[in-house]
């Protein structure tokens, strides 16, 4: 079993979101970078659990990014995984990134490709599906549970108002979210081991960018809260009905 886990870096969840250069660039000043939580907590940990059950499993991590993604990739390796591949490219759109991952996937012949549900900065929820299409393999999005039964994946996925269990023969691309695994903390042994694990750097293949962010904006500031006394809920109901018109 060969698993490819897609890992991206994102600003820490408490980062101040600000933009620079006339609102065309994210202001990285003072930002701490972390592994995208969906990639770290769910896809990667699930892959590690599968390896713990079957020692013959090989886990590769892939990231598309500049040299500054390496600390994040090392942290991912400290959690587990055998080697990492960094495609040396910065700033591509979803299709560009997916094309790079698909290329790595083709060369590596993986049985299972795990992505996160979405990145918490770009919120595309797109790259897993694009990779699956480029490889012409099935895609199960928004998994909340993932089991392997021989060469069949048994995936529980989210649907409106519930869940659905689906079976699909490998190879498959799955996007993971809460439920697939439990967050882990890397231990000292893992951190030491990560230092010597291979981190290969490869150059990107030619691929188009189909979209481009032209500018960013912050949501308009709120007018401020209107407080209503606790013994006057009728007033709140009136405001919601007559002023906000939401009930």
């Amino acid at each position: 079993m060969k698993i490819l886990v897609c890992v991206s870096k994102t600003p820490d969840t408490t980062s101040k979101i600000a933009f620079k250069d006339g609102n065309t660039k994210f202001d990285e000043a003072g930002v701490q970078w972390i592994i995208n939580p969906y990639d770290e907590w769910y896809s990667l940990v699930r892959a590690i659990e599968l390896k713990e059950k079957d020692a013959a499993t090989v886990i590769h991590l892939v990231t598309v990014g500049g040299a500054d993604t390496e600390p994040v990739i090392r942290k991912a390796l400290a959690l587990g995984g055998d080697e990492a591949i960094r495609v040396n490219a910065e700033g591509g759109d979803s299709f560009f990134i997916a094309s790079q991952i698909a290329e790595i996937a083709k060369q590596g012949g993986y049985d299972l490709i795990l992505a996160g549900k979405e990145t918490i900065d770009f919120n595309g929820a797109s790259i897993g599906g694009m990779v699956a299409e480029l490889l012409d393999v099935p895609y199960v999005a928004l998994a909340t549970k993932f089991e392997l039964n021989g060469t069949t994946a048994v995936v529980t996925r989210e649907i409106e108002g519930g869940e659905e269990v689906a079976e699909v023969a490998l190879p498959v691309v799955v996007s993971c979210q809460k439920g697939v695994a439990e967050q882990r903390i890397p231990n000292m042994r893992g951190i030491m081991a990560a230092r010597t694990k291979p981190l290969k750097v490869v150059e990107p293949v030619g691929a188009d960018n189909l979209t481009q962010v032209v500018s960013y904006e912050l949501p308009p500031a709120k007018a401020g809260v209107k407080l209503v006394a606790a013994d006057n809920v009728d007033e709140l109901v009136r405001l919601l009905h007559e002023e906000a018109k939401v009930i």
């Binding site: 299409e133 108002g161 912050l218 949501p219 606790a230």
Partner: protein, 319 residues
């Protein structure tokens, strides 16, 4: 040139999120001066022609029941074929579970740029620029699509469904589905509940409720409002409530018309999942709770006293 909108359905019914996508698609078509058509893969019990009331002139239907279960690969192949036969240049999905699974595939197959999670109509003054939510709702990005064909998935609850009247012409489309490789073996729906991502109103509670046994007052309020239930992450993590109710940066992102937060402090990661709600009401006994800074209306008070009173007052309003 035309706009093609996927009509997504479950259990024989067109999803509300899909009606929003139809409304959005019809508006895009109007803006571009081209026709808007729906694409229905599979079968529904409703009157398909009546979907014309949302502003589309045609519904292309592939009435093959294979499509009543979702296999993203099978869907993408059929949609890609339909884009070819109908000559669509803009393809629209809801950014719901189906759209998240299928739109990226269609985008990659057609080499058509995707804007996932659009919150506004495209700006077509020069080029084709669509606003989408980024940083988990903390900001927006204006994304220019540079490919010939454009794919947009519309954030649920960003567009109000608008029925303008009219009927659509229903045309059968001849598309043979490829063999499905994903086999659905079980479906577990929480019956009687309003699905979180489809809800106009969401009633959410946090650790301030003290324990799962106290959720009755929250459920009663949700019930009178026909609202969906949600909760903060520690509540789901301690198994007080099911995971599918967890909202926030690492849970569901919702954008209802009304979000009522009870006993939730308003941590930045929680707000990230809910701050696109149109109106936010906070009930918290701590006047310093950060949620008050983000809210539109608030009551400083004990949830156990305020919430039952609020439920009663709303009941009275609704008669």
């Amino acid at each position: 040139m035309s706009v093609l909108i996927l009509i997504d359905h479950a259990d024989g019914h067109v999803k509300k999120a899909s009606l929003e996508a139809l409304t959005y698609g019809a508006a895009v078509a109007k803006q571009l001066g081209v026709p808007a058509a729906g694409l229905l893969l599979g079968t529904v019990t409703e009157d398909v022609a009546a979907l014309g009331q949302y502003g589309i002139s045609t519904v292309y239907q592939v009435a093959n029941e294979t499509f009543n279960t979702l296999d993203a690969q099978v869907y993408a192949k059929a949609i890609t074929a339909a884009v070819g036969t109908t000559g669509a240049t803009v393809v629209i999905f809801s950014h719901n579970q189906t759209g998240k699974a299928v739109a990226p595939r269609v985008s990659a197959a057609l080499k058509a740029g995707l804007v996932a999670g659009a919150v506004a109509l495209p700006d077509t003054a020069s080029g084709f620029v669509v606003k989408k939510a980024v940083f988990s709702g903390k900001a927006f990005a204006n994304v220019s699509v540079t490919s010939a064909i454009k794919v947009i998935s519309v954030n649920p609850n960003s567009f109000k469904v608008e029925a303008v009247g009219g009927t659509a012409e229903v045309k059968a489309l001849d598309v043979t589905p490829v063999a499905a490789r994903v086999k659905v073996t079980a479906v577990n729906k929480v019956s009687g509940e309003v699905p979180l991502t489809e809800a106009d109103i969401v009633v959410s509670a946090g650790r301030g409720l003290k324990g799962p046994e106290n959720w009755g007052i929250v459920e009663d309020l949700a019930h009178v409002l026909h609202a969906a239930l949600a909760c903060s992450r520690p509540v789901a993590d301690s198994h007080w409530r099911p995971h599918h109710e967890h909202v926030g940066q690492t849970g569901f992102q919702v954008a209802p018309n009304l979000y009522i937060a009870i006993g939730i402090s308003g941590a930045i990661q929680h707000l990230a999942g809910v701050n696109r709600s149109k109106v936010m009401v906070v009930i918290n006994k701590d006047p310093e709770a950060p949620f008050f800074k983000a809210a539109d209306y608030g009551i400083v008070g004990d949830a156990f006293e305020v919430v039952p009173k609020l439920t009663a007052a709303i009941k009275q309003l609704k008669g």
